[in-house]
């Protein structure tokens, strides 16, 4: 147990717009954390910085005490909000790629997951439906034994059955050394799965708390509290 992620004075500006404003954050290992906020609140920006795809304008983020780089990338499993495989790659090629580059990749688990989804590994990514593509990516990402999972909007725009599969997979793959960060604006669907939540608004953290504490304190669901906090 320990702090797996630490953000200190994290700021990101794109030209004139400030996506993240002086974010201070600390995440413990073994927690399932919800990064909640409306579109444009900085959730994706934060996740991308932690994954090493964006560089901060100011401040820093540390994964297990190290700034994002090849070392952290070996410990962080990132699921983007889009497909990132070359269309001509076969599902088996994608598996091969993950097995090649990630030491912590569990090939057997990935194959089992794809099998239970009824996905033919010899098909190219292009021939799969969008929902199936997302499931393949999720299966690969969750088959890693990573210290930090960053899932960017995994349940947005997805049918209820797929949503159940995603939450199911997250619960199933939970391990005490891994922290899962799920960014979303659909809260009521995932509340039951979360340990802690972070409310992000306009690049700033409005509130961080455990789900239990919020419910006990307010007698309301996190979804309801969220709506209250972000009522314009």
């Amino acid at each position: 147990m320990g702090t797996i992620l630490q953000a200190q004075g994290l700021t990101k500006r794109f030209g004139q717009t400030t996506a993240l404003d002086n974010v201070e954050l600390s995440l413990e290992s073994g927690r399932i954390v919800g990064l909640l906020g409306p579109n444009g609140s900085g959730k994706t920006t934060f996740i991308k910085i932690a994954s090493g795809l964006l560089t901060p304008t100011a401040g820093q983020v540390l994964i297990d005490g190290v700034a994002p780089g090849p070392q952290t990338k070996a410990q962080v499993s990132y699921l983007p909000d889009r497909t990132y495989f070359d269309n001509w790659m076969k599902v088996s090629d994608c598996l091969e790629l993950f097995a090649d580059f990630y030491q912590d990749f569990d090939r057997v688990k990935a194959n089992d997951m794809l099998h239970s989804l009824g996905i033919d590994a010899s098909k190219t990514f292009k021939t799969l439906s969008k929902g199936t593509q997302e499931k393949v990516q999720l299966a690969l990402v969750m088959s890693r034994q990573a210290k930090l999972y960053l899932l960017d909007e995994p349940i947005g725009g997805v049918d209820p059955a797929a949503r159940d599969f995603i939450l199911d997979t997250i619960i199933r793959n939970y391990n005490e050394e891994g922290t899962v960060v799920i960014s979303t604006h659909l809260i009521s669907d995932i509340e039951k799965v979360l340990d802690d939540v972070i409310f992000l608004w306009d690049g700033r953290i409005e509130r961080t708390d455990s789900v239990d504490h919020i419910r006990e304190q307010s007698g309301k669901s996190v979804d309801e509290v969220f709506r209250e906090v972000f009522k314009c």
Binding site: G30, L167, D168, I171, K192, D195, R215, G219, E224
Partner: protein, 163 residues
């Protein structure tokens, strides 16, 4: 055998056709809701005495909740004595029949209390409510259900007491 429905204050547990349906209310912490549901499951015989419980992870997946939360709930049930951990084989339901009886008693009293509270909110006095309960109980055991129903309805229409 599993056609009954058990009502809890905070959560609904439908024990139907041997499939446990987990319905949570998002207003309150989940762990206590799980505790109550599993208690009901044990009392209703869904989790037989002395049987092994599925693993924390499997239960968490089944219930669709965070494994930490499920762990908390199971720990609480262990503290209550309903579950105990065997060294290698995970958690098992207790065989302590006395404890079960105690729990059933307490639950029964809860249901009774709910009944009376419900009747009170309808403005029906306590002893009147007790009468209706007794009548309903004997009516459901008699062969001629329709006859007892009309008897019950005629008795209620004579009620004038308001509390």
């Amino acid at each position: 055998m599993f056609g009954r429905q058990a009502y809890c204050q905070k959560a609904t547990l439908e024990v139907r056709r041997c499939i446990l349906k987990w319905n949570f209310s998002n207003d309150h912490s989940i762990a206590p809701q799980i505790v109550e549901m599993i208690q009901t499951g044990i009392l209703a015989g869904f989790y037989p005495l002395g049987s092994a419980l599925p693993s924390v992870r499997a239960l968490a997946v089944e219930a669709g909740v965070n494994p930490n939360t499920m762990q908390k709930a199971l720990a609480e049930l262990e503290a209550q004595g309903l579950l105990y951990t065997q060294r290698t084989s995970g958690r098992t339901v207790t065989t302590d029949e006395r404890l079960i009886m105690e729990l059933k008693e307490r639950r029964a009293h809860d249901y009774i209390r709910h009944y009376f509270e419900g009747m009170q909110s309808l403005g029906i006095a306590r002893d009147r409510a007790a009468e209706m309960l007794a009548a309903s109980a004997s009516a459901s055991t008699s062969a001629d259900t329709s006859a007892s129903d009309t008897k019950a309805t005629t008795t209620t229409t004579n009620t004038t007491e308001v509390n």
